[in-house]
């Protein structure tokens, strides 16, 4: 239970490879596991959850057969709790804190959370009602987990909320950025729908800064939440980067979640540059698209990579090869302008840098080449600098500066949450953190605009 397990890859029907890998618990498994939970008092799992889900409470409700109550407990604390049940690094959060780590084995909290939220999805439950309208209007820019979370909370407080979403669908990375075999799109869609049914208007295909300006938002809304996440993958800055067959990992994953799975990688050699969460997703997607060989190249070692252990294990099960201490220096193409080779240099670890991780240094004369039909860049994400500047917010290299409690920016009417305020070396850019920050921004706005506390629905 709880582990991702790779299965055989079909070359005949690629879309089969993108079906959710982990089946989830059966009813009997869920009840057995729920009854194993000790129902601790002042439970460490709650403290380990960034959104403070009352975990023993939702598990007790599974044990008693109150699945609606269980799902409500989860989603009340975390508006994207169904997604988090699948993508949270639970062994580093709730499950890592479970007291049973010290006696038997921890409760599979993520799987139980999935069991309860899956029940709510399957039974088309509407778990919350909007609060009594207070006549105030809030604009939320960005419909990813942080924006959805802020919008849901604000709607519960009674605000009239509009989300402005650049993409065709809301959900942000939950909808487009996390591979469907870990997070099927319908999960994200359900969470979006839960927010929409709170009378939140979601204007998709609407780019703030292009289709609607900051001035218009400022004039028409009492407060603004900026939850625009991050941008595309930056350039590697090496020769040959514009050849055909070079992909941005975020766009690459998104393409597998927007329409047919294409066949161009069948039998091909793929190299992924980087070893973060998205690199793993890009590599395992490549395997599932039928690539004959998938390599990850990373300039540091397994100890420094930002991918989680379970992601690393999963990629290894998928047959992804990891090349540590390997830095790309040049991409070579064939006569038709297609990628054919990646030249790399071996690295060694030197003194620790400003983020505490040991800095890689090239080893003289260690150049070597790797055959590649496609190269996928997964070395982080750029910042939406122009939009942040359009809002006139103080920032540090595209990371919007906020008050760490209220999430208020340098402009008192603008609050910001999610990846857009995620600074380098500040922990993990997790969905669950974005959700919590959205809640915090909503509460801070509520405190500012409606000083008397209002009961939530």
């Amino acid at each position: 239970m709880g582990q991702l397990k790779s299965k055989g890859i079909s070359l005949e029907n690629l879309s089969l490879n993108f079906e959710e890998v982990h089946q989830g618990l059966s009813g009997a498994e869920a009840v057995e596991e729920a009854n194993r939970c000790l129902y601790c008092y002042d439970a460490p799992c709650i403290k380990a959850c960034p959104t403070d889900i009352d975990i023993p409470k939702f598990i007790k409700k599974i044990a008693s057969g109150n699945l609606k109550g269980s799902a409500t407990t989860i989603m009340s604390s975390n508006p994207v709790g169904a997604t988090c049940a699948r993508v949270c690094p639970t062994e580093e959060l709730c499950e890592g804190a479970c007291v049973l780590n010290h006696s038997t084995k921890p409760i599979v909290i993520g799987d139980l959370q999935r069991f309860a939220t899956d029940w709510a999805i399957r039974n088309e439950q509407l778990l919350f009602k909007p609060g009594e309208r207070n006549g105030k209007k809030i604009a939320v820019v960005g419909g990813g987990p942080a924006g959805l979370s802020a919008a849901r909370e604000l709607a519960r407080f009674g605000y009239d909320v509009t989300i402005f979403e650049a993409e065709e669908k809301a959900g942000g990375l939950d909808t487009y950025g996390i591979v469907s075999f870990r997070l099927p799109q319908e999960i994200s869609y359900w969470e979006v729908e839960q927010v929409e049914k709170m009378d939140v208007e979601i204007r998709t295909n609407t780019k703030v800064g292009e289709d609607i300006s900051y001035e218009e938002l400022k004039n028409n809304y009492d407060s603004i939440v900026l939850a625009i996440g991050m941008g595309s993958v930056p350039v590697l800055g090496i020769e040959g980067e514009n050849l055909e067959g070079i992909h941005d990992a975020i766009e690459f994953v998104k393409s597998t979640k927007s329409g047919e799975i294409t066949q161009e990688l069948i039998g091909k050699k793929v190299v992924v540059v980087g070893a973060g969460n998205t690199a793993i997703d890009a590599a395992t997607c490549s395997v599932r698209k039928g690539a004959s060989n998938v390599k990850i190249v990373y300039r540091r070692t397994a100890n420094e990579m930002t991918a989680y252990d379970f992601e690393y294990d999963f990629a290894k099960q998928d047959g992804v090869e990891f090349n540590w201490l390997t830095q790309p220096i040049r991409i070579t193409g064939d006569d038709s302008g297609k990628v054919s080779e990646l030249t790399c240099v071996k690295m060694e670890l030197g003194e620790p840098g400003s983020d505490g991780r040991r800095r890689p240094v090239p080893v003289e004369g260690s150049d070597f080449t790797i055959e590649a039909d496609a190269i996928i860049k997964a070395i982080g994400q750029t910042r939406h600098l122009s939009l942040i500047e359009h809002f006139g917010l103080e920032h540090e290299g595209g990371v919007v500066k906020v008050n760490p409690e209220s999430r208020q920016t340098s402009n008192p009417d603008v609050y910001s949450c999610g990846d857009v305020i995620f600074g380098k070396g500040k922990g993990d850019a997790m969905v669950v953190t974005a959700a919590q920050q959205g809640k915090e921004a909503a509460l801070a706005i509520h405190k500012r605009l409606s000083p008397a506390p209002t009961a939530t629905a």
Binding site: S26, G27, A28, N35, Y39, Y41, K57, K60, K61, A63, S64, G65, N66, K68, G69, T72
Partner: protein, 428 residues
């Protein structure tokens, strides 16, 4: 959102979950914490002449690794002075005027003693009284608790004495340590009880240590029987509630208890005639916060069934409970094994083969797979195979049409001119 408010013989509470008279309701501090957590009412730990307690006092019965499947105690009634309890009851009621506080009482079987204590506790503003005629250990040796609760005449007489003095509703709490609880329940009604509550704990010895040969629990190597409660006693309690609920002469509300651990058991007790439930062991196992799911689960259950008030489910299953002689002899069900779901543990086969009616065959199908099949013509529909089966959906019990019209034992006997049932003269 369903209406969870309860009215038991005039005692009102915001929900049907009361803490039973027991260690959790020993003090004002505890009862106030319970009300903060959401309990609808509390029956204060039994007041009377303060007693002396022993250590140790409790023993849990684990079953297959599950703690506290049953629970046993040898603690007595309150060991604190009456004045202290009364002061705390007064303060608690003042802070929580809408929650029900019921004083559990136990004194010697004397009219004077009962009158005195009733007056004193009613002065501090309790919503009702519960007469403890059930405590099976310690107090019984002194002629109180179960000792008086096992004698219908004493139950009737003492209830009458209390009713002479009481202005608030009187609940009589009954002991299960008696052959037929309806006798004492009826006696309580005769005595004027406004309600009855059941069950108190069952005489028990939790265990014996295999190495020391001491009893569990024991006090300096010596044990005495205690009172048994917790999930294990639910079926016993549920039957007693149901028997009283369907008894024509026991026409007062019943407060049900015995193994209520979640909203599910509460619903069962209420369907079987209980107006609300009392809880102790589950709270002792997990703390007062368990009431949150009890209320939430009950509310979601009622909403899903389209029932607007919890009072509407009280007694809804009582008419479905009857005597064996009224069951249809010709109704037949048989087991059906779904081999697609079956995991081939063969537990159904061996249970049937060794201990029931030898009708489940172990076979090999045309593809060489092991399968199990019921010979329906030999199946008596006992349910055993489906009970031992570890997998949901592998064995269903399905209706089997034997072409016979319904006929009960009583109908059969009257049709052949025999006595309708065993003719035993009951001495009452």
């Amino acid at each position: 959102m369903a209406d969870l408010r309860l009215n038991l013989a005039g005692i009102e509470s915001p929900n049907p979950f009361w803490l039973a008279s027991a260690p959790p309701t020993n003090s004002g501090y505890q009862v106030q914490r319970a009300f903060e957590a959401g309990w609808g009412g509390a029956v204060w730990k039994t007041l009377g002449d303060p007693i002396l307690n022993v250590t140790s006092r409790f023993a849990g019965v684990s079953y297959n690794g599950q703690n506290m499947a049953g629970f046993n105690n040898i603690e007595l009634i309150t060991d604190r002075p009456l004045e202290v309890n009364l002061k705390e009851i007064y303060e608690t009621k003042k802070r929580f005027p809408n929650h029900a506080i019921i004083a559990s009482l136990m004194v010697e079987p004397s009219q004077e003693k009962w009158h005195e204590i009733v007056k004193r506790v009613e002065e501090v503003g309790v919503d009702g009284l519960e007469l403890n005629f059930g405590c099976p250990h310690g107090m019984a040796e002194r002629g109180m608790g179960a000792a008086s609760g096992q004698v219908p005449e004493l139950v009737e007489k003492q209830t009458m004495w209390v009713k002479e003095a009481a202005e608030t509703p009187v609940i009589v709490k009954l002991t299960p340590n008696i052959t037929d609880i309806t006798f004492t329940a009826e006696a309580a009604v005769q005595g004027g009880a406004d309600a009855v509550s059941m069950i108190n704990t069952i005489n028990s010895l939790a265990g014996v240590d295999l190495d020391t040969w001491d009893t569990v629990p024991n006090v300096a190597g010596k044990g005495a029987h205690g009172g048994y409660c917790g999930p294990a006693v639910k079926p016993i309690a549920l039957n007693m509630v149901a028997e009283c609920a369907r008894h024509p002469k026991i026409n007062v509300p019943i407060s049900g208890m015995g193994g209520v651990s979640s909203w599910r058991e509460a619903v069962e007790f209420m369907l079987m005639g209980a107006t609300g439930v009392q809880v102790c062991t589950a709270a002792m196992h997990h703390g007062f916060s368990i009431v949150e799911d009890m209320k939430d689960g009950l509310n979601n259950y009622l909403d899903e069934k389209g029932i607007s008030s919890v009072m509407d489910i009280v007694g809804k299953s009582v008419e479905k409970y009857s005597d064996w002689g009224n069951l249809d002899l010709n109704h037949q069900i048989v087991a059906k094994i779904n081999n697609d779901v079956c995991i081939n543990c063969n537990k159904c086969h061996i249970a049937c083969e060794d201990t029931s009616h030898q009708c489940i065959d172990m076979l090999v199908d045309e593809n060489g797979n092991d399968i199990l099949r019921v010979r329906e013509e030999d199946c008596v529909g006992c349910n055993l195979c489906s009970i031992v089966c570890p997998v949901d959906g592998a064995i269903e019990m399905i209706d089997y049409d034997n072409g016979q019209p319904p006929m009960t034992w009583n109908e059969r006997q009257s049709a052949i001119g025999a006595a309708p049932s065993c003719d035993v003269k009951l001495v009452k």
